[in-house]
Every structure is written in C-alpha cells, then in structure tokens.
C-alpha cells in the first residue's frame, strides 16, 4: 500500500505542475510567472491525491458501504478538491460567480460514470473472490 501511495504522490506532483503550466499557457502568461505557485500547485495536487487514495482504498473497496454512499463520499471529495483549487486560483470572489457552481455540478456529473466504473471493477473482483471462497467453504 505504501508503495502504491508513494507512486500516486509522485504522479500527482507532476500532474499539479502540468496543470499549472497548462493554466499559464491558456491565459497567455509566462511560465516563469510566480515560480512559488508551482510549489503550491504540487501541494494541492498531493493533498488531492491523498484524499482520492483514501477514498479508493477505504470507501470504494469496502463492501459495507452502499453504492449511493460510495458515490456521495466520492463526490464530496471531488467537490472539496474543486473548491480548494478554485479558491486558490481565483480567490474568494469565485464563490459569487454562477459559473463556479455550474462547473461544480458539471464536474460531479462527469465524474459519476468514472466512479461507477471504478466501483464496478472493484466489486467484480471481490464478488468473484467471495464466490471462490464460498465454494471452498461448502466442500
């Protein structure tokens, strides 16, 4: 698990920096603008990664939670990451813009099929595992 988490953290740092570079390019700014913000982008990415990793391991793979509960928890994490990212990038002014809420809903809706796919994949593995074990128990 630590190995997987470490891999995810390293990848998230690169993703955070990549998003920063992309945002600067799209807004026509120099890549050398506010060098210290690269560090904050990486930190936000690592926090997002940690939250996502926790959801993947503790929630999505847990048979005790219902499908709806898993979706709700995953959506809350996604919204938390979205809010943090927007507040960091745009300041508190963003909360007075309707686009902020529109994009939030869009992000949640777009991520639902992805969550569903991951959950289905995890559940499939564990269902076959329990089927295999129950056959041994009955023998």
């Amino acid at each position: 698990m630590k190995k997987f988490y470490a891999e995810a953290l390293v990848v998230s740092v690169f993703i955070g920096i990549f998003i920063r570079v992309l945002a600067l390019l799209l807004t026509g700014q120099s890549l050398l603008t506010s060098i210290e913000d690269y560090f904050f982008s990486a930190v936000i990415a690592m926090i997002s990664c940690t939250l996502t990793f926790g959801v993947h391991v503790k929630v999505l793979t847990n048979n005790q939670y219902s499908f709806i509960t898993k979706h709700m928890i995953s959506s809350m994490v996604i919204i938390a990451i979205y809010v943090i990212g927007n507040l960091y990038a745009g300041g508190t002014d963003v909360i007075f813009q309707w686009e902020f809420y529109g994009y939030a809903i869009a992000v949640v809706l777009v991520s639902l099929p992805l969550i569903h796919y991951f959950n289905k994949r995890i559940m499939r593995f564990n269902e076959f595992l329990h089927l295999k074990k129950s056959r041994h128990a009955s023998e």
Binding site: F4, T61, F118, I122, F125, F128, L129, L131, K133, H136
Partner: protein, 179 residues
C-alpha cells in the same frame, strides 16, 4: 492433476477413506474422474473401478499420491519446528534466505523451495501471484485494483498485503473464474 469421484453412496465413505489414506484430495471439478463400474457411461476418459476390488483401486491411486503425505506445513521459528495448519496460512514468500510462511501473527521459515510448495499445495486454494509469492485465497478478504493492471490483496485482521504483479493478473483472474 485433480481427481474426482463418482460412485454409489453405499461405498462412498470407503472409497473416500482410500483417497484420504494417500492424502489425495477429491475435487468436484476434476481433471480426471475415478468412476464406479456401471456409472462411467458419458464420463470417458476416466478410471473405472469395481466396488468389490477396492484394494486394486488403492494400488492404482498410489500413482497419484503426493510426494508428501501430510496436508500440514512444517515451519521453523524460535529454534523449534511448528506444524502449520492450512487454515492459518496467509501466503508464502520466497527470499534469498529461503521461503517464509506468513500467518496472521507469525512468520515461519520453511525448508522447501517455492516451486516445490507450488507442486504440492492444493491448486484450487493456493495461487502464485508473482515470482516470489504464493497466496492462500481463503485468507484474502479484499482485492484492491491499481493502475497498470496490478492488484493488491488484503488479508483478514492483518496489515499484511501482497501485490499481484501484472504478469500474473491474467492467471489470477482465471483462478477466480473471471475468465
């Protein structure tokens, strides 16, 4: 090779005793069936035996007996040998120093090599998941899929975990019946 048994109920216990005396396990889904004479129609190829000649059946079954007649594993720890029951085993791990048997709370050193264990362990309960690990599937409680076709196996009431390497994922899925 996995053997199955087809016979009448009145002799079933006697025949099963023959199998058990030779430490041969009987499987529901077998590679080859040992069938009582008269019941073998539709089951060919199979080994047909006569119910009044069970001694001949025993002689024939000798060829299928495993090289070790014990279903237990013997491990070394704290200057003593311990007999480890299959129910307690989580997985086997091959290191330079030898093969370790991991249970919930202990780790034992074994004399056998991993390939020797793989040959004598029940193939429907133990699965090789990488070059260095053989896992007891009944002890696995959760499978966590990861990127790059890897899986992580978690065990009951334990922090121990084993990774299924990507080269073994296909075989593992087949073992679970997913393919």
């Amino acid at each position: 090779m996995k053997l199955g048994l087809v016979c009448n109920n009145n002799i079933r216990d006697d025949v099963l005793n023959k199998f058990q005396s030779l430490s041969i396990e009987v499987y529901r889904n077998a590679d080859l069936y040992v069938v009582e004479e008269g019941l073998h129609t539709g089951l060919l190829p199979c080994i047909v035996f006569r119910p009044d000649r069970l001694d001949d059946l025993s002689d024939m079954l000798q060829a299928f007996a495993p090289t070790t007649t014990s279903s237990k594993i013997v491990g070394f720890k704290d200057d003593a040998y311990h007999v480890i029951s299959h129910e307690d085993i989580f997985y086997f791990e091959a290191l330079d120093a030898g093969v370790l048997c991991h249970t919930r709370s202990d780790v034992f050193l074994l004399k056998e090599k991993l390939y020797q264990l793989e040959a004598r362990l029940p193939s429907d309960r133990y699965i090789k998941v990488s070059r260095s690990f053989i896992v007891h599937i009944d002890a696995v409680t959760r499978i966590i899929p990861w990127f790059n076709r890897r899986l992580l196996l978690k065990f009951e009431h334990s922090k121990k975990e084993v990774e299924v390497s990507k080269n073994y994922v296909g075989h593992f899925k087949e073992f679970l019946g997913m393919r």
